[in-house]
């Protein structure tokens, strides 16, 4: 795509966003400043962006791992919830041992995510049920499961409100810097993304996964264990999303609520797609989405733009990016 075209797309997006903001009775200049400040304008804002990106980086990585192996795992949202639920169940078992509570969360959450993905993997390999279908349905099951858990077995006995028991404050990950909400969780997510990139690009296992994804028949003819590789990718993808859910509990909320997510699993898939299904691209897009999310929060707070419009503005920005990328590919 020519620079002129990129500029035209960018200008068009900005103009459309400005018109929407004007229609809501706010000033476009204020809105733009608020969006930038809220995303990267201070150490607190930057911390907010990083805190938001943990779940997105991991679910985007999960999407890349699955999709590159030819597994269309749309169930990251449900696997995220399964991980969060497992974390909320396991963490409070160790009220006096913060390290044990953290270890329990970090073991239980990925395991639960993988287990949540397992039925879809079995259905896909044994019954030829499309993973897209089964994982979407399992998302509904997971969401209903959370609704039930916080009212039933996991409900905090000290209150009547539907939420799980809280982890001990000492078990929650402390902020990396005072006043910010970013914790070591984001470092773990970025390290895993780097490890994932290395694994996919530089190892025989990564090559085998990509081969199964791009040419399943050829891979099988070449003697690769295609079923095992696909199932492995499916379960790892679920484990990554589950870990993301566990870290959300461990780093941010301290317990399970209903509703617990505003679609982080789906946004993770979008981020992976925007990143061209590359590990690093997915992580970068996840950071971008997190920045836009934090920025649109500030858009409401500081520029008085209504919530629904505030979420349209970042969506427009992403559409523009996709348009620019699509254009480039055509050439």
């Amino acid at each position: 795509m020519r620079p002129a075209a990129v500029a035209a797309v960018a200008a068009g997006t900005l103009a459309a966003a400005a018109l929407l903001v004007l229609a809501a009775g706010a000033s476009p200049a204020d809105a733009f400043v608020a969006l930038l400040r809220g995303a990267v304008g201070s150490s607190a804002a930057l911390g907010e962006t990083l805190a938001r990106s943990t779940g997105l980086v991991l679910t985007a990585l999960g999407a890349v791992v699955a999709f590159r192996a030819g597994v269309l795992n749309i169930g990251l949202e449900g696997q995220f919830l399964a991980g969060a639920a497992a974390a909320a169940a396991a963490g409070p078992l160790f009220p006096d041992a913060p390290l044990a509570a953290r270890a329990a969360v970090l073991l239980a959450a990925p395991l639960a995510g993988a287990l949540q993905a397992a039925p879809a993997a079995w259905l896909a390999e044994r019954r030829q049920v499309p993973a897209v279908l089964s994982t979407i349905l399992l998302n509904l099951v997971a969401a209903a499961g959370v609704t039930w858990l916080v009212r039933g077995p996991l409900r905090d006995p000290s209150g009547d409100y539907p939420q799980s028991r809280a982890l001990a404050d000492a078990a929650l990950l402390p902020p990396l810097a005072g006043g910010s909400r970013a914790t070591a969780a984001i470092l773990l997510a970025l390290l895993l993304a780097a490890a994932g990139a290395f694994l996919l690009a530089r190892t025989p296992l990564g090559l085998a996964l990509r081969a199964v994804g791009e040419a399943p028949r050829a891979a099988r003819a070449a003697g690769l264990p295609d079923v095992g590789l696909r199932v492995g990718a499916f379960l790892s993808s679920g484990a990554l999303a589950g870990l993301a859910g566990g870290l959300e509990v461990l780093a941010v909320t301290g317990r399970l609520y209903d509703p617990f997510t505003a679609g982080v699993g789906y946004t993770g898939i979008t981020a992976a797609l925007l990143g061209g299904m590359s590990t690093i691209g997915g992580a970068a897009s996840a950071l971008l989405f997190a920045a836009l999310g934090a920025g649109s929060s500030a858009l409401q707070r500081d520029a008085g733009v209504p919530s629904s419009l505030a979420s349209i503005v970042p969506a427009l920005a992403v559409l523009a990016l996709l348009l620019a990328r699509g254009g480039r590919r055509e050439r």
Binding site: L99, A103, Y161, A184, D258, A262, S297, G304, S307
Partner: protein, 330 residues
């Protein structure tokens, strides 16, 4: 374990090391220019109910106390804390979280920002700079139940709730008590749709209740109430408004159990502004005038005079303490 696997496994231990000394304190709150007030709502302020009332309250604070105000709509607990923190760091004197669910996040942020007061609409958590506003809406929903008990031909009333949370269940408890006071043999059935926004779901639930024989519908479903009213109008049964005066929203609304949120918000904000906030829950019932029972003037002609009188008497008894309206424990 190969070295590579060992490396990957060791990554998992990373957050265990998270207890690094946290460097520095939260950014100090900016010196506030003027009286800044922030509001967090869990849903859109266009719901003609719970959230709209809060937004009007915020506007009233701006008008009557000359405050600088700001509002955000938030979805997940993570966002609650994010926004509280941003407002407190920006020098807000008062942050209002509009619902029970804001308590945890408020408590976490209140510790770091002692100069900001955090109020949650309903709840129980208190500290030096945090307390709930407690609305005894139950006193008015009891009166709705009383009317339904007296007037229902089928001796059945339906209650449609959004999410099954204590504050909602508590109003149903009071409605049911009022219903039984009006007609000891009457039965109330509750349905929770699981959403405060799902208008179609609320309508389906309401239609099912009407099919089951209910000829009076009470709701506590915020924006989704529009579905309850649509069902009531379609089938020609009566409904009650909740939280706001919804008498004009639909021709099926016989009366509303009202919380005058703007009045309560202004009163509470004035306390904070004048330094009279003491960390105690702030309660509002029928006696304060913040909570009231309002007949729909357009339909009042269809209500038998003895019922109107009885409601007035019950109102006085509630204010005097002769009738204790049941309340959920939350």
């Amino acid at each position: 374990m190969t070295p590579r696997r060992r490396f990957l496994a060791s990554l998992l231990a990373l957050p265990l090391l998270g207890s690094l000394p946290s460097c520095g304190r939260p950014p100090a709150a900016k010196p506030a220019e003027g009286f800044r007030v922030a509001l967090l709502t869990p849903g859109p302020v266009s719901d003609a109910g719970w959230n709209a009332g809060a937004f009007e309250g915020l506007k009233a604070i701006e008008r009557e106390l000359g405050a600088k105000v700001s509002h955000v709509q938030v979805k997940t607990p993570s966002e609650f804390e994010e926004q509280f923190r941003a407002y407190a760091a920006g020098g807000a004197a008062l942050c209002i979280g509009h619902g029970f669910e804001f308590q945890d996040a408020a408590a976490r942020v209140a510790k770091d920002y002692p100069r900001t007061v955090f109020l949650t609409t309903s709840g129980s958590r208190t500290s030096r700079n945090q307390a709930p506003l407690v609305f005894e809406l139950e006193q008015a929903t009891y009166l709705c139940g009383l009317v339904a008990g007296r007037m229902s031909r089928t001796a059945k009333a339906g209650m449609v709730g959004g999410v099954e949370i204590p504050s909602i269940k508590s109003t149903f408890l009071a409605f049911e008590a009022g219903l039984k006071a009006g007609n000891p043999g009457a039965k109330a059935t509750a349905v929770f749709t699981g959403s405060f926004e799902d208008v179609a779901g609320a309508k389906t639930a309401a239609l099912a209740l009407i099919d089951g024989g209910s000829d009076f519908l009470f709701h506590n479903a915020n924006a989704a109430a529009l579905g309850v009213f649509a069902a009531a109008t379609e089938r020609g049964v009566y409904a009650f408004g909740a939280n706001r005066d919804q008498n004009a929203v639909s021709p099926s609304v016989l009366a509303s159990a009202v919380i005058d949120l703007p009045r309560a918000f202004v009163e509470a904000a004035r306390r904070v502004k004048e330094g009279r906030f003491d960390g105690q829950p702030i309660r509002y019932g029928l006696a304060s005038g913040v909570v009231s029972f309002v007949w729909n003037p357009a339909l009042l002609g269809r209500v038998p005079a003895p019922v109107v009188d009885e409601v007035d008497r019950a109102k006085e008894k509630i204010v005097s303490g002769a009738i204790i309206v049941p309340r959920g424990n939350f």
